[in-house]
């Protein structure tokens, strides 16, 4: 029944001082969706990239259909029928959808190809003009174009590196359906993720990586608790995220952040934030939840000063900063954790310790740095390592480390945990809660309703650039389904 399709034998890959894969051996069978799970920095993405020919392993073999395959570029891998879709869409913004796909599959961008793409997308209820330039379509659409692009060359192995992780739930379900149908016919999917629920939803078998080694293989059923133990060696961290309830708010605590009738445009000049007002008091955690594309990104950027406000105002600790550059807002007591740690959160060409020195106003001792690394579980623990060598989740942790190194009055965080594994997520939510307990204000802009209801005092639902509904008081978890409904229907 379980015929072997691909054998990965003793793969070893290091980047300078960082060992990413430390002797990984595993089998991939025909007709299966093999989930590769692991905490941030466990080597998942490196494994995917080795299989797709992006990296050449230092040692070890990849055996396909019984004979060794050597890839020195994705081009080689593609010839063997291997295709990868990753977290960040690999499309050329200035070309049309049709041109992008034509380029990838090596055909002229003809009318027949356009027809084939449209038919393909229609099967999944996606109606989109394939002559549109890629920069004008949404993230979700891009990911489906990536999927179409990959499937149109009729691959045998599809490597999905967290490509569905950030999709809204209904579309994720659709994405998964496509994957399930795909593996039926002597093919396979390797699905890489750090999210346990997602893994259980899609996987047939599970391989858990830890620090570059295979920690455990689950042939068949697995339960969350076992997976957690294999991934982290513990599930103690789950206790961190329980509501350390209110009482902390005194009635007269003042606003540390006031956003008043804010209007912000998106990159194409359309109104993204439409006269939104919200206040955050000292000691309070306020969440803004919304489906991506409803203006949350622009709201966060306008509060941070990375994007201009067309009208309205932003006040930090009573000071009007609407016209100030980001640096001045930070000096006034704001800490903004951007969604993309690579582009805005860190300087990737610098080391971990250098980034931390940049965040902190005072000189940092080595001890403080090591302590922050330990508290956030940054892997590897060596502060002299260049940030670009870290995995995505660990880059995000470096970006978040500023919370431990500075004394802000208010924190605005945009999807701070979405790149993080379950344990790191718990650590970060705990840091946010402690910060509010010590009298700081938090504005959490997130797609993750779970974390919003778990740690917030108020949850505002954002739809079309406005607050559609505000939930507060009592047990917010009981409003969960109402919140989700409001996110979709306004």
């Amino acid at each position: 029944m379980n015929r072997t399709f691909i054998r990965v034998v003793d793969l070893y890959k290091r980047f300078g001082d960082v060992v990413a894969l430390d002797g990984v051996t595993l089998d991939i069978f025909f007709n299966e969706i093999l989930v590769v799970l692991g905490e941030n920095g466990s080597g998942k993405s490196t494994l995917a990239k080795v299989l797709y020919g992006v990296y050449v392993p230092d040692r070890g073999k990849i055996i396909v259909d019984g004979s060794e395959a050597r890839f020195s570029s994705p081009f080689d891998a593609k010839k063997k029928g291997f295709v990868m879709i990753s977290q960040r869409p690999q499309l050329i913004d200035d070309l049309s959808i049709l041109e992008n796909i034509a380029l990838f599959i090596g055909e002229p961008p003809s009318g027949t190809l356009a027809k084939r793409i449209e038919d393909f997308l229609k099967r999944f209820d996606i109606g989109i003009d394939v002559h549109k330039k890629v920069f004008s379509i949404s993230y979700t659409e891009k990911q489906f174009i990536e999927l179409a692009k990959a499937l149109l060359i009729n691959p045998r192995l599809l490597i999905v590196d967290e490509a569905a992780t950030y999709l809204p739930q209904d579309l994720k379900t659709k994405f998964f359906e496509i994957l399930r149908r795909f593996v039926s016919d002597n093919r396979a999917v390797i699905y890489i993720t750090h999210k346990i629920p997602e893994a259980l939803e899609i996987g047939n078998r599970f391989v858990v990586l830890r620090r570059g080694k295979v920690a455990r293989v689950f042939n068949g059923a697995a339960n969350p608790s076992e997976l957690r133990h294999a991934m982290f060696g513990t599930e103690e961290y789950l206790k961190l995220v329980s509501r350390q309830l209110l009482q902390r708010l005194s009635k007269d605590s003042k606003n540390v952040l006031s956003v008043d009738k804010l209007v912000v445009l998106d990159d194409y000049g359309k109104t993204a934030v439409d006269g939104l007002s919200i206040d955050v008091r000292a000691g309070e955690i306020v969440s803004i939840v919304g489906v991506a594309g409803n203006g949350e990104k622009e709201l966060g950027e306008a509060i941070a000063g990375l994007r201009k406000a067309s009208s309205g105002s932003v006040k930090i600790d009573g000071f009007d900063v609407t016209k100030s550059p980001p640096s001045e807002r930070t000096r006034k007591g704001l800490v903004y954790i951007p969604e993309d740690p690579f582009k805005e959160g860190t300087a990737v060409t610098l080391s971990i310790i250098e980034n931390m020195r940049m965040y902190a106003r005072e000189r940092l001792s080595q001890d403080v740095v090591l302590d922050a690394i330990k508290k956030l579980g940054i892997v590897p623990e060596n502060p002299a390592i260049q940030v670009s060598k870290l995995s995505g989740g660990n880059v995000q942790k470096v970006s978040i480390s500023r919370l431990l190194l500075t004394m802000p009055k208010v924190v605005v965080a945009h999807n701070p945990t979405r790149m993080l594994d379950e344990r790191s997520r718990a650590l970060v939510l705990d840091i946010l809660q402690r910060f509010s307990l010590s009298g700081g204000g938090v504005l959490l802009i997130t797609e993750d309703v779970d974390e919003a209801v778990q740690i917030s005092d108020k949850v505002a639902v954002m739809v079309d650039g406005r607050i559609a509904k505000l939930f507060e008081g009592g047990n917010l978890e009981s409003f969960r389904s109402e919140i989700e409904k409001a996110m979709v229907h306004g």
Binding site: R14, F15, G16, D17, Y55, V56, R70, S72, S73, A304, G305, L306, P325, P326, S327, E328, T330, R331, Y336, P338, K343, E344, G345, T346, A347, V348, T349, L350, E354, N355, R357, M358, Y359, A360, R361, R363, R402, T406
Partner: protein, 351 residues
Amino acid sequence: MARIVVVKRVLPPSLSILTRFLTAFIGFLIAVYITSVATGLGFSETLRTAFESFLDLNVFRYISVFLPIALGLAIAFNANLWNLGAEGQLVMGAVGATYIALFTPLGKMDYIAPIASLAFAAIIGLLWALIPSVMRLYLGVNEAVTTLLMNYIAYYFSSYLVKGPWRGRGVYGYTTTDMIPDASKLPVVPGYSFSWYIVVTAFVLVAIVYLLLYKTRFGISLRALSSSIAAVELAGISSKRLALAAFCISGAFAGFVGGAEILVYHRKLVEGSIVGSGMGFTSIMVAWLGGLNPIGIVISSYYTAALYRLSFALQIGSAAIGDALAKSIIGTLFAATIVAEFVSKYKIVVR
């Protein structure tokens, strides 16, 4: 089927440095071989000439130009600011130093004269660099273009001075100013054309720039600018102020060198293109060759200075052939350096 592929690799720092040196050395031997074939001079004879250039004390004449300018440029380039105007900043620094030495009472005061001249040279270099940086930061004008073009303004400004208002009274037909007073001159090492004062200052600057770039929040943020301006801003540091500072420092260093050229080498102001003679441009390359790292720049400025010496050594005798040969040797050596860079980052595999 065997084929050749290029694969990325990451070497540990020590091996990476060793690889670069070895590759550069092999390139050096190739260059020497080509020369000996072209000139009919024996291989060992040519090798000796080449080695002599590297051991000649006069490399300091060029090191004292390349090293400070490249250090300043490294600060700007690390911040992703394209200051291509070191040549002009050098020339303007020379103008500034000449002004103090020749036209103010300070120029005749012992000890004070050189210090005042060099300080003013640095200030003028800084101001010259300030113009394009303000245009970049507040008007969005590309600094690469403005700094490049301002070099020629500096050239012509200096030439105007020596042909017009500052033309010396005792210079006959030459377009120069009068000699600067003795009090302003910096003593050269007998038999050579450099001053230990400037060389020592240059090495002090190496230490200062190193500490600045790697040990201070200012320097770290400056280096962060090239990967993300937003990250620097969000850390609470004004990216504009950083950029302005980086530009000003690089201008000041180039200006200082211009002043030193007057006090040590020319001892009068000459036409702009002669003061600069392209060394400000060469310094751009020196900075990159040194990997924008102060220690690396010490090595690259020595290397480049030795090549300058070598090209003069080869010119002796048949001028035309010597010049062409000198250029081809320098070209070979730089090509080897680029190969070294490649070899340290990639490996070639036959499978």
